[in-house]
Amino acid sequence: MPVLLRRLVHLLVVLFFVTLFVALLTSMLPGDPVDAIAGFASEEQKDVLRQDLGLNDPLPVQYGRWISSFVTGDLGNYYSVSGGRPVMDRVTDSLPVSLQLMVYAQVLALVIAIPAGVVTAYRAGSRGDKAANATAFGMLAIPNFALALVLAYYVGVELRWLPVSGYVPPGEDLGEHVRRMIMPAISLAVGQIAVYMRLLRSDMIATLQEDFITMAKAKGVSPRRILWRHALRPSSLTLLTVAGLNIGTLIGGAIIVEVIFSLPGIGTLLYEAISARQYIALQSLVAIIAVGYVLVNFLVDVLYAVLDPRIRHART
């Protein structure tokens, strides 16, 4: 079976199990969505509403109805007493915000971590390496929400360099958009920088012991060229894997960072859906995240082949 097809099947299986699991979990939560949207209604009114919303149907029926709509691009409606709003309306506003935040955080983390990892590997054991490692541990130890608040206070309030909350789309004002995304992106990125740097450093140290590096040195290739052209690529596979897997961590971090910086992203939407027992919305949001997660990891798999000719040749 071609890789692409296998991955597609993988994606569908993951999606099925993730959404089924979410459906099972939400069905086990205490309380009733109807109480959340019509708390003061009479029992008769609530029964009618449950019937209208399909909440009286068995779980497999509810799940089947949802998944068959989801695969056609219909994310369902928010539960409401009078005609629910489509979940898609909110997702189209929120998804770009979260994607931008995660991409900026990931790019920022990689842009800083890769050179830092390469240099510390090359200078392993030096004072600079030790300082960088200590800093990395310090960065790992800071929860992103705490960093977010510290940044907001010192950078936003004391120094007044950047706005502390709110979102502006890039199409409306690119400069303002960047200004508003810097602190959230840094808050999310800092923990990742430490992880990526440490990973790359240890892989690079191992690579720098390889025979082909010794050969390159013997041929008089410059250290810079050895590091960036010969050692970096084979040392990046673990980094790439972790960067893909870290999408989940980023989503988790984005929820709290979005709330702190008042960014109207998927994290905020998820929080809202959980709080208000909007199970259809919750299932659709989780499914979107699951699809995104599997797709990113699929891309990582494809990139393996680009980075390492041995994998490419093995696959062919």
């Binding site: 959340a36 708390g39 009078s82 977010a148 608040l149 907001a152 706005p163 109207p264």
Partner: protein, 559 residues
């Protein structure tokens, strides 16, 4: 024009450290999300403060108002579930038929007159002529009738919830002439005009919005000072000046003063204050004690204007389920009341700034008593009552305390547990999300919870919270004396002070709730922003309460 300092803020306070200590506190608060059910910390005791000497309002400018929460349900008012943030927004776009004056008495607002018959069982609402909605349609008796029917569940296009109970005494609403509506009630209701205000949330919708089956919640059309422009949930709601607004201020100047108002939900408390301090927003509200305290410090430094009335507030309390053990037994309720050490709670939870509540009515309200006879802290008495309960029932006095999973409410729950256990009770804290807390309250699936409710206004507005059998009588108590007093207060025009004072004393005697402290909300604005809390309907003196928000049509910015 220089920014004017607000007047007296009560006892001066030492300026707090604003470096690492504050950042550490911020990290703790980061996990706290807005939870009206759990309430948490409330301000108070600071005395009224405002910038009423700011000078003559100048038209123009924009206010960006930081709200504590988003109203995800939207703005289809008969169906919406609105807390204070939602009511703030609705007051920008909608008008109510009545509005309270400085004493809390109702005066006509969108109506020209609201008059009862002799026994207050029929109310005649005469509307102002020439008022138009933002879509250009006219305010007529027909539209007002449809609105009232929509709120009470008699208009097919809408599916309301809460107001079905509130408006139960309405038998019919009739159009008398194009500008007159008659409301026929099944019983005398002397404070019906207060219900027409309902803490500012009973706005009148345009016919087009009432009939909008798909976007009633997203396309608000009112008669208010600002016209809806745009709403991106969790980001902002913007509204622009209504050039055809019908109202003027007491000096005859056209309202509103501002060109535009933007509401931004910033649920993280510290971030809302940071946004104000950094100039990103220029107005915000809060009821978190630490923030109120910080705002006072900023106000003393001249960095913000702080409006913080000590009248018509809400009350924070422990709500007990009287439909099952242990709180079906008055001894258990008495024990818990005696075990509550206010001084300790004030110091630990409230930065020492709140005042102790002795009843459901905050200062300023009809029925308020400085001393209602509510039990005071007495650990020995609490211990004795616990022993009595246990020997009487043969069971330990133990209960679960449900609290919203947020830093402030958990802290409150822990203190309640500590104080109750010092008297010999056993308390298990159960953390839940806010929906579960409210569901538990509605279904009676709880033993004790922390709540904040009963904002200032006519005490009859609390009728459904305490009436036997009401679905929102969450304590599930059935007290014929309370029922009698509620009915008497509703139907008797004379002697209402005494009626509600008696009701207050009855609450203290039966301990249907353990009253903790009075909430004081604070509205903080940039020094150049003025006009909070506005004016009264017919005079310059405003209704001072802000527990349910305040009018925004009077806000202005120095130009």
């Amino acid at each position: 024009m220089p920014g004017k300092r607000p007047r007296g803020l009560g006892v001066p306070r030492a300026t707090r450290g604003r470096g690492f200590k504050r950042v550490a506190a911020m990290a703790v608060l980061a996990l706290a999300v807005t939870a009206c059910g759990g309430g948490g910390d409330d301000g108070g005791g600071g005395g009224a403060s405002s910038d009423e000497d700011a000078g003559t309002p100048t038209p123009g400018g924009k206010v960006i108002y930081g709200l504590e929460a988003e109203t995800t349900d939207g703005w289809c008012l008969p169906e919406a579930q609105l807390a204070i943030s939602g009511i703030m927004v609705t007051q920008a776009m909608y008008d109510t038929l009545t509005r309270p004056n400085a004493e809390g008495e109702m005066e006509p607002w969108l109506a020209e007159s609201v008059e009862p018959n002799e026994d207050s069982s029929v109310w005649t609402i005469k509307l102002r002529d020439g008022v138009t909605f933002h879509d250009g349609s006219e305010l007529t008796a027909e539209v007002v009738k449809n609105n009232l029917d929509a709120y009470r569940g008699a208009y097919p296009a809408r599916s309301p919830q809460l107001f079905i109970f509130v408006f139960q005494p309405i038998e019919s609403v009739e159009v008398v002439d194009p500008l007159t509506v008659q409301v026929n009630l099944s019983q005398p209701w002397v404070s019906f005009d207060a219900t027409l205000h309902s803490s500012g949330r009973l706005g009148m919708l345009a016919q087009a919005q009432l009939d909008d089956a798909t976007s009633c919640a997203e396309q608000p059309i009112g008669t208010g000072p600002f016209k809806f422009s745009d709403w991106v949930p969790n980001q902002k709601l913007t509204a622009e000046r209504n050039p055809d607004y019908w109202a003027t201020d007491a000096a005859g100047e056209q309202l509103p003063y501002l060109d535009e108002i933007e509401f931004r939900p910033i649920v993280e408390e510290e971030q809302r204050r940071n946004a104000l301090e950094s100039g990103e927003i220029n107005a915000m509200h809060t009821s978190i004690a630490d923030t109120v305290d910080e705002v006072r410090t900023l106000s003393e430094a001249g960095e913000v204007n702080d409006y913080e009335p000590d009248e018509f507030g809400e009350v924070t309390y422990l709500m007990m389920n009287e439909s099952k053990p242990p709180f079906d037994n008055i001894k258990a309720r008495q024990a818990l009341a005696h075990a509550f050490d206010f001084e300790e709670a004030n110091a630990i939870l409230n930065a020492g700034i709140v005042t102790q509540a002795t009843g459901p009515f905050a200062p300023g309200n009809i029925g308020h008593l400085d001393d209602s006879g509510f039990p005071t802290f007495d650990l020995d008495e609490a211990t004795r009552l616990v022993d009595e309960y246990e020997s009487e029932t043969g069971k330990d006095l133990e209960f679960t305390y449900s609290a919203v999973n947020a830093a402030a409410t958990i802290k409150q729950a822990q203190l309640v547990k500590e104080q109750a256990e010092a008297a010999g009770m056993t308390v298990e804290i159960v953390t839940v999300d806010q929906s579960t807390l409210i569901d538990g309250a509605i279904s009676g699936d709880f033993e004790a919870q922390g709540w904040r409710n009963h904002p200032g206004g006519d005490p009859d507005l609390q009728y459904n919270w305490w009436k036997s059998g009401s679905p929102v009588n969450f304590n599930k108590f059935e007290d014929p004396e309370i029922d009698r007093l509620l009915d008497e207060g509703r139907t008797t025009a004379e002697g209402r002070d005494e009626i509600y004072e008696e009701l207050n004393r009855r609450f203290a005697e039966e301990i249907h709730n353990v009253w903790l402290w009075y909430t004081v909300w604070s509205v903080a604005t940039a020094p150049e922003v003025h006009g909070v809390p506005g004016e009264g309907p017919t005079s310059e003196d405003p209704f001072p309460g802000i527990a349910s928000g305040h009018p925004v049509g009077y806000m202005w910015v120095e130009q």
